[in-house]
């Protein structure tokens, strides 16, 4: 029935709240097609109604309601995906893993890039132009230095004081918390507490 295809898109999101399914191009296209047909039928029936036959009014209203419903589902589909994509900017950083990026449609990739950009611009202006990275300091600080184990072969990390650390898989280091927190969040380092 009308609106079922659009509802399918919403169910897709509802089924997997912890991941982002591939953008359903075909589903979206089908809903838009259904909308086109509903609209055309309504045009026909409105013409008849305007010429005096009020019997078509109920059908027009039914179809029009379905159009509104389809619109709501489509916009909600896009909106909730953007919410998820937005969260990815905070958790993965400004570069997405390719397997995830693969599931975005092109306008979504563009939106992500724009979001990263205006978020960065905003963060640069904080504190009268000093700038402050809000994606950092996400947990109350406990100590200046923390012990970490490297989970992957990451390569060189240059610390603020110029020192260079080589992060090799399974190597352990004592590093400034503020500098390795992003790497912990990205799953590159593991924080060790004794």
């Amino acid at each position: 029935m009308f609106g079922d295809k659009a509802f399918e898109l919403i169910k897709e999101l509802e089924r997997c709240p912890d991941s982002l399914p591939a953008f359903n191009d075909e589903g979206v296209r089908q809903v838009l097609e259904e909308m086109r047909v509903l609209f055309e039928q309504n045009q026909k029936d409105v013409n008849v109604s305007v010429s005096g036959d009020a019997n078509y009014f109920a059908g027009v209203q039914l179809r029009h309601t379905s159009l509104e419903r389809n619109k709501r589902c489509l916009l909600a589909y896009l909106y909730n995906r953007l919410q998820y994509i937005r969260q990815m900017r905070w958790e993965f950083g400004s570069i997405l893993p390719p397997e995830i990026k693969f599931n975005l449609c092109e306008p979504e990739v563009k939106w992500f890039g724009n979001y990263s950009k205006y978020l960065a611009n905003y963060m640069k202006t904080i504190g009268d132009g000093y700038g402050l990275d809000l994606t950092q300091d996400t947990k109350p600080p406990k100590s200046l230095y923390i012990e970490v184990r490297c989970l992957v072969d990451y390569g060189k990390l240059e610390l603020e004081d110029g020192e260079i650390v080589l992060l090799k898989k399974n190597s352990q280091h004592l590093l400034p918390r503020s500098e390795c927190e992003p790497l912990i969040r990205q799953g590159i380092l593991q924080h060790i507490v004794h």
């Binding site: 029935m1 009308f2 609106g3 079922d4 509802f7 919403i10 169910k11 999101l13 509802e14 912890d18 991941s19 097609e33 259904e34 047909v37 039928q41 029936d45 019997n55 078509y56 109920a58 059908g59 209203q61 039914l62 309601t65 379905s66 509104e68 419903r69 709501r72 589902c73 916009l75 909600a76 909106y79 909730n80 969260q87 990815m88 905070w90 958790e91 993965f92 893993p97 397997e99 995830i100 996400t138 947990k139 109350p140 406990k142 923390i146 918390r177 927190e181 912990i184 969040r185 990205q186 799953g187 593991q190 924080h191 060790i192 507490v193």
Partner: protein, 235 residues
């Protein structure tokens, strides 16, 4: 850093779209012309297999099939969003009937034994759908509204107990092993249980280890890594 606001429906909210998709019996008060395919498609969908769906799609898109009408008096189960729009005070295209789970017989059961009823089975969106129904100008409306409030109050203790039983030990419910009594919760209650449980677990972890717990990777990163691992082991 989720804000964790309590559920408030809005235009884009998935739960609200889900809840407004719940169906209720409606009777057409006027003829609706050129919508016959709508009924036939429904019949086909009820048969529910992929070919029927394909046929349904075809007949919907086929303009030659729009010559059938829905006659006055036809009874159909319509989703709430449609029923609401077709049933308003000025000019009702349909009249609505309340689904039986909100009718008196069920209301009595819910009043007497709210805490043992499997709401999830009655209706996943029991409260949301119910409050929408109570918005209809219907003789049961006020009663339904009162029922929802009472039912929620009566069942809250369960949710709190389950949320604070972080060990996941939900036995002792008198049911067979493996059946989780929390499965009896409707969607709204389950949302409360999940947030309640996760904050309780955070508190328990703090009580046993203090705030010096390690900084962890971001949730999405963890989920992503898990999926990568799962994919790797499949291929």
């Amino acid at each position: 850093m989720p804000l964790l606001r309590s559920y408030t429906p809005h235009y884009f909210s998935i739960d609200d779209i889900m809840a407004t998709q719940e169906r209720l019996p409606c009777k057409f008060e006027v003829d609706v012309l050129r919508l016959g395919e709508y009924c036939r498609n429904q019949a086909k969908i009820i048969m529910s297999n992929t070919t029927a769906l394909k046929v349904a799609k075809k007949s919907f898109l086929d303009p030659s099939s729009d010559d059938e009408d829905i006659k006055t008096g036809t009874t159909l189960e319509l989703p709430y969003w449609l029923a609401r729009a077709l049933c308003n005070r000025n000019r009702s295209i349909v009249s609505v009937n309340i689904p039986r789970i909100y009718k008196e017989a069920y209301r009595e059961i819910l009043k007497a034994e709210a805490s043992v009823v499997d709401l999830h089975r009655l209706c996943v969106y029991f409260y949301e759908f119910g409050s929408y129904l109570s918005g209809f100008n219907h003789r049961d409306s006020t009663e339904i509204g009162n029922l929802l409030v009472q039912c929620f109050k009566d069942r809250f203790r369960l949710i709190m107990d389950w949320a604070q039983n972080s060990s996941g030990d939900t036995s002792g419910s008198g049911r067979g092993a493996g059946s989780d009594p929390t499965a009896r919760l409707d969607n709204l209650e389950r949302g409360l249980l999940i947030t309640g449980r996760s904050s309780w677990e955070a508190l328990e972890a703090w009580l046993s280890q203090g705030g010096g717990r390690p900084i962890g990777p971001a949730n999405m990163v963890v989920n992503h890594q898990k999926r990568q691992l799962a994919n790797a082991s499949v291929s």
